[in-house]
Subunit: 572 residues, 2 copies
C-alpha cells in the first residue's frame, strides 16, 4: 500500500516538501491543503510586486520557466493533490487523520501515514485601537499584497506610515517611497531599525540612507492608536505626536502558526513555535514540521530561536521531503543570514551582531573596516563596510555584518562567513580564507581578510581603537575630554577639519609622524584617524613605540564615520 | 640589539612581510632589496593597465590613498630601507649574510638575523627560435608592461599572437582585442584553454565567448618558431600553419625563482620551488620564503603543488611578518581559488576541476546546474552556470567552477565553497549552506545549494544524467545511437528543434508526460531535456517509475548546452 502524506500549508515549505516526497517516493499519495486561494508564491517578493519591479503577482507564483504553480500545475507536473481554500481544523494523532473544511463548509477527514506541518506565521498584532480601519494592512499573504498594490496604484495614497523597522517594514517603505513617491514614515519602538540584526553603527548607516531617500525614520517611538474618518485611516498617534497617513502597514514581526500543533498536543516552545528534532520531526515522529511555524537551534549560541526566513523554509522542506520518503537527512540549525536592499545600499549579516552577542553573555567586541570590493586601482568598484564580531577570550568569530552599494559583492562576503560559522571559526580561519582574486572582482587581500586582521590586531592589543559610534560621542564632549584628533592623511583631506576646529584637529601625515613626535602633546586624549583606519593604525604603532600611552585609533576611519552621517568639517 | 631582517624581492610578498614585521616589532631593522626599479605593484593589474582601464602605471603602485609605494614611501611611512636595482647574488647561511650588487656594480654584504625570500617567478621560456625578436614580450614585470602599452598605444600593432591560454594570456587577449581593436589570436598547446583549472565544458563556454568577442582561439596547436624581418616579429609558425603578428606575448606559465635558495643549499622541490613549512620557514629556520617562489600543500589533494597567485603572496607575507617578529602563525595550504574576467563573462573556480580530480585518482563525477543569481522573478538577474565536483565514494565535494556575467555573484558562490573546502565538506554541507536571501540578491534556494542537491540526486542514482559535452557527442551519432530526445518544455521552446529534427526530437511537456507514456518508444536511447535540467529530471523520475530502463537527463539542460555553442535547431 502506498504511503499517504498530508501536507498542511502551501506557501514555501509545504510545496517544497510535497515535491521532494514525490521525487523520492513516486508512489506516495500526497495531499496538500491551504486556507488561501493563492499558494506557492515567493513571499519575499511581495515588496517588489508592490513597487512594480515585479509587474504581475502571478510572477511570484511562477516557476523559472513561467508556469503558474496552481492546483493544476501540482497535479499535472508534480502528481499530488492540492486543496486550496481549505482549512485544517484539527489533527487526530491516534486515528492519524486531519479534519479539514472547505470554503463551502464541507468537512473532510484526511488519513495520513505521515503529516507535514508548514502553516507559516501570522503578523503580530498590536494591541492598539484602530487596527480594523480601512487601509490598515499587514503584509501576510499575496492576497493582501494585491489589495495594497491596488490601493497605491489608484493614486489615492499621499502618505503612508509603516509601523515596525524590520525587514518587511523597511522593504515596504522603499517600495512606497521609491516607486510611488508616497511620503513614507517608519516608526520603530526600539532605538534603532533592525534591532537584533544590525549593530547600532550599521543601523545608523541604514537610517541615514533612508533619510536621504525620503523615508522618515522615527525610532524610540511607540504607536498608541490608529485613527480614521468614515472608517478609513487618517493618522497614526504615537507617544511623541501624530502622523498623517492614508495607508498604514503593520509590520511588527510575525508569530508562528502553531495552534493546530498545540491543540494536537505536540511540544511547542513557551514563546511560540513547534519544537522539532534535527530530522524535522515533532514530538510525534509521524508528524514533521518546518518553516515559519517552528523553532530551531541557533548554531552560534546553541539556543533555540525563531528564524522566519524564506530560504530556511526551502531547505527544511527538502529535508522533510527526503525523510518522509524514507531517507534520513538532518537540519543542523541556523546562523541567521539575511540581506536587505534599501534603495542604493544593501545590508547583510550572519551570526550574531555585537548587541546580540553581548546580550547572550559573550565577552565580545567588534572591528569595523571599510575597503573597496574590487582592486582599489580598478575603475569599477564600491566601498564595503564590514563589522566582524569576535569573542575576546577565544578569538572565535561570532558574526559579520556589512553594507555596500553592490549587494552581490556584499552577499559574497557574508555567505562566505556564514559557511564557516558552524565550524566555530577563529580569526585566523577568516584571515586565511582564500578568496578569488582578479582586479575586476576583488583585492589581493579581501576586505573580509582585512576585517579579521584588524580584529586580531585589536584582540592582541596591538591596535587600540575606538568605535565610530563611540568617537561621535567623544567628539561631542571634545572640550571636557581634552581631545585632540591627529589626522594622518595628507593635508588636502585634513584641511577642512583643521580649519574648522584648529584646537581639536591637527594634521600630521603618517609619513611625517616619526619626525614630528615633539608636536604631539602628552597631556591630551589623542585620537588618530585617516580614511579607513590603516594609516592611523600605523601611526599608533609609532606613537606607542615612542612612549605615548593611550593614543587610540578610529576604527574604519573617516570613511566609516561619513557613512554614519557624522562630519565635523560641516558643523556650525 | 635590534632584530636585523633582510627581505629579497619587492613585488608582493616582500613589502607585505616587511610592513608587518615593522608593525609587530617596530625596533626591527629591515632592509628590502629588489633587482628592478619599480617595486610593490599590483602585478595582477597589468592587463588592465595595458587595456587602459587603469590609465597610469603608477596607479598599480599606489596605496588606496594614492601614495606611490616607492623607496621614499617605505622609508617614511613604514620605516624600512629599500634598495632597488640591487640584485641579491648569494646567501651565506653560516655568516648569516646576503651579498648584493647595485646597478653600478658595487657589492655590499648585508647581515641578517632573519631572511625573507620573495623572489617571485619568471615566465617560462619556450625552446623555439625567434624569442629575441623585437615586439616579442612576456608579461613578467611592470617595466615590460609599460613597453607593451607604449607599443600598442603607438597604433602600429594590427595583429597580436598570444602563446598560452592561461590566466595572463587570456587577460592580455581581452586587453588587446577589447580596448585596442587588435586582431588577436591565442594559441594553446592543450586541447582547451585554462587546462588544469577549467573542465572541458567550462573551457568550451569560455572559448565560445572569446570567439564572439573577436579573439581567435586555436587549441591543440604548438608554436614552433617566431619569425621576423629587420629584427621585428612578423609571424608565428605552428605545427598547423603560420599567423601574422606585429606583437607576440609569451605566456606559457611561470617558474619559481628558486636559484638563490638552491645555491644556498635550501630544500627545493625537484620540479622547482622552495619547500617551506606551515610557518613558511625553509629548511633553514632563520630563512622564510613565500609567494611565487615556493611550493605549498594543496589542501584538497594533500600534495605539494605550485600556486603562483597574488592573493596567496599577500596572506603568506603577513604570516611571515608575524613569525619573523616573534609570533607563530601558520599557512595551512591552498585550495586554488581563481577568477578571471573574459569580456562580458567571469569564470571562477576553487578546489579540483573534474579532469584534475580524475588525474589525481579520485573516483569523481561532476554535476552541472544553471540558475539565475537573483530571484527568477526579479528583473535584474544573470544566469550562473556551476559545475560541482564530487568524490563518488564519500560524497565529498572536491571543487566548484562556474561562469556568469555578474562576476561578483559568481565570486560569492566560489568563495563560499572555497571557505569550507578545508573542512572536507560533503554534499550535505553544501546543500545546507545558509545563504543570504532577498529577491534582489539571491534565491530562496541558491544555485550553490541546487548544485549540491543535483549532485546528490546523481550520486544516489535518482538522477541519471548525461554531461552536456557527452550529449554533444551522442547527438553527432544520433542515427547510429538510435537516439530520441524528449523535450519536456512547452511547445514554444521545443518547436524549432522538433521541426528541424522530427525523427530525433519529440515534445512532451513535463506536465503531460504521465498521460502520454505510450508515445515513448522503449527501443530507443532516450535523452530527456528542458531548459535547466529540472523538468527533465522530474520526467525521468516518472519514466523510471513507469519501468523505462535507461532514460537519461541532460544536465544543465538547453541553457547549459547553448552556452557551449551547441544548437541543434540551427544545424544545416
Amino acid at each position: 500500500m502506498s504511503l499517504k502524506v498530508v501536507v498542511i500549508g502551501g506557501v514555501a515549505l509545504g510545496p517544497k516538501a510535497a515535491c521532494r516526497i514525490k521525487r523520492v517516493a513516486p508512489d506516495a499519495e500526497v495531499t496538500l491543503v491551504d486556507a488561501s486561494k493563492l499558494i506557492s508564491y515567493g513571499g519575499c517578493g511581495i515588496p517588489y510586486y508592490v513597487s512594480g519591479d515585479v509587474s504581475d503577482h502571478q510572477q511570484l507564483q511562477e516557476t523559472s520557466f513561467h508556469m503558474v504553480r496552481d492546483e493544476q500545475f501540482f497535479q499535472d507536473c508534480k502528481d499530488f493533490k492540492v486543496m486550496t481554500e481549505t482549512r485544517a481544523l484539527s489533527i487526530d494523532r491516534k486515528a492519524k487523520t486531519v479534519l479539514v473544511q472547505a470554503k463551502d463548509g464541507t468537512q473532510t477527514t484526511l488519513p495520513y501515514d505521515k503529516l507535514v506541518l508548514g502553516m507559516g506565521s501570522t503578523p503580530r498584532k498590536l494591541p492598539i485601537p484602530g487596527r480594523e480601519l480601512d487601509n490598515v494592512f499587514t503584509v501576510s499573504t499575496l492576497g493582501e499584497a494585491i489589495r495594497i498594490k491596488e490601493k497605491v496604484a489608484s493614486g489615492s495614497v499621499g502618505s503612508a506610515v509603516i509601523v515596525g523597522g524590520g525587514f518587511i517594514g523597511l522593504e515596504m517603505a522603499e517600495s512606497f517611497a521609491d516607486m510611488w513617491g508616497i511620503e513614507t514614515t517608519v516608526i520603530e519602538v526600539a532605538d534603532q531599525i533592525m534591532p537584533g540584526f544590525m549593530s547600532k553603527a550599521m543601523a545608523t548607516i541604514a537610517e541615514k540612507h533612508l533619510a536621504e531617500s525620503d523615508v522618515t525614520v522615527r525610532t524610540s517611538e511607540m504607536v498608541q492608536a490608529i485613527e480614521g474618518e468614515d472608517g478609513k485611516v487618517t493618522r497614526v498617534v504615537t507617544n511623541k505626536g501624530a502622523i498623517d497617513a492614508d495607508l498604514v502597514i503593520l509590520a511588527v514581526g510575525v508569530i508562528p502558526n502553531d495552534i493546530l500543533a498545540r491543540e494536537a498536543g505536540l511540544s511547542c516552545s513557551e514563546r511560540g513555535g513547534i519544537i522539532v528534532s534535527k530530522t524535522m520531526q515533532t514530538s510525534d515522529p509521524d508528524i514533521y514540521a518546518g518553516g515559519d511555524c517552528v523553532v530551531v537551534e541557533n548554531i552560534v549560541t546553541g539556543k533555540i530561536g525563531y528564524f522566519p526566513l524564506g530560504s530556511l523554509a526551502n531547505s527544511q522542506g527538502r529535508i522533510i521531503g527526503t525523510n518522509v520518503a524514507g531517507g534520513r537527512e538532518t537540519f543542523d540549525g541556523v546562523v541567521g543570514t539575511y540581506i536587505i536592499k534599501l534603495f542604493d545600499l544593501a545590508f547583510s549579516g550572519t551570526g550574531l551582531s555585537l548587541p546580540v552577542a553581548l546580550r547572550e553573555g559573550f565577552d565580545a567586541f567588534s572591528a569595523h573596516v571599510i575597503m573597496s570590493d574590487h582592486s582599489h586601482f580598478y575603475p569599477k568598484r564600491d566601498m564595503v563596510s564590514l563589522e566582524i564580531v569576535v569573542e575576546r577570550r577565544s578569538g572565535r568569530v561570532l558574526g559579520l555584518q556589512g553594507a555596500c552599494q553592490n549587494g552581490d559583492s556584499l552577499k559574497g562576503r557574508i555567505d562566505t562567513m556564514a559557511a564557516i560559522l558552524k565550524f566555530r571559526p577563529t580569526l585566523r580561519d577568516v584571515s586565511s580564507l582564500e578568496m578569488a582574486y582578479a582586479p575586476p572582482f576583488g583585492s589581493a587581500m579581501d576586505v573580509l581578510n582585512a576585517a579579521a586582521n584588524t580584529a586580531e590586531n585589536m584582540l592582541v592589543g596591538r591596535n587600540v581603537s575606538i568605535q565610530p559610534t563611540e568617537f561621535a560621542k567623544l567628539w561631542e564632549n571634545r572640550a571636557s575630554e581634552n581631545l585632540l584628533c591627529i589626522d594622518t592623511r595628507e593635508w588636502g583631506n585634513a584641511e577642512p577639519f583643521v580649519n574648522k576646529h584648529p584646537d581639536f584637529w591637527k594634521n600630521i601625515p603618517q609619513g611625517q609622524i616619526r619626525g614630528r613626535l615633539d608636536e604631539i602633546p602628552r597631556d591630551k586624549k589623542i585620537v588618530l584617524l585617516c580614511n579607513t583606519g590603516g594609516r592611523s593604525y600605523e601611526s599608533q604603532v609609532i606613537l606607542r613605540h615612542a612612549g605615548f600611552l593611550e593614543p587610540v585609533n578610529l576604527q574604519g576611519g573617516m570613511g566609516f564615520i561619513k557613512q554614519l552621517g557624522f562630519d565635523p568639517s560641516q558643523e556650525e
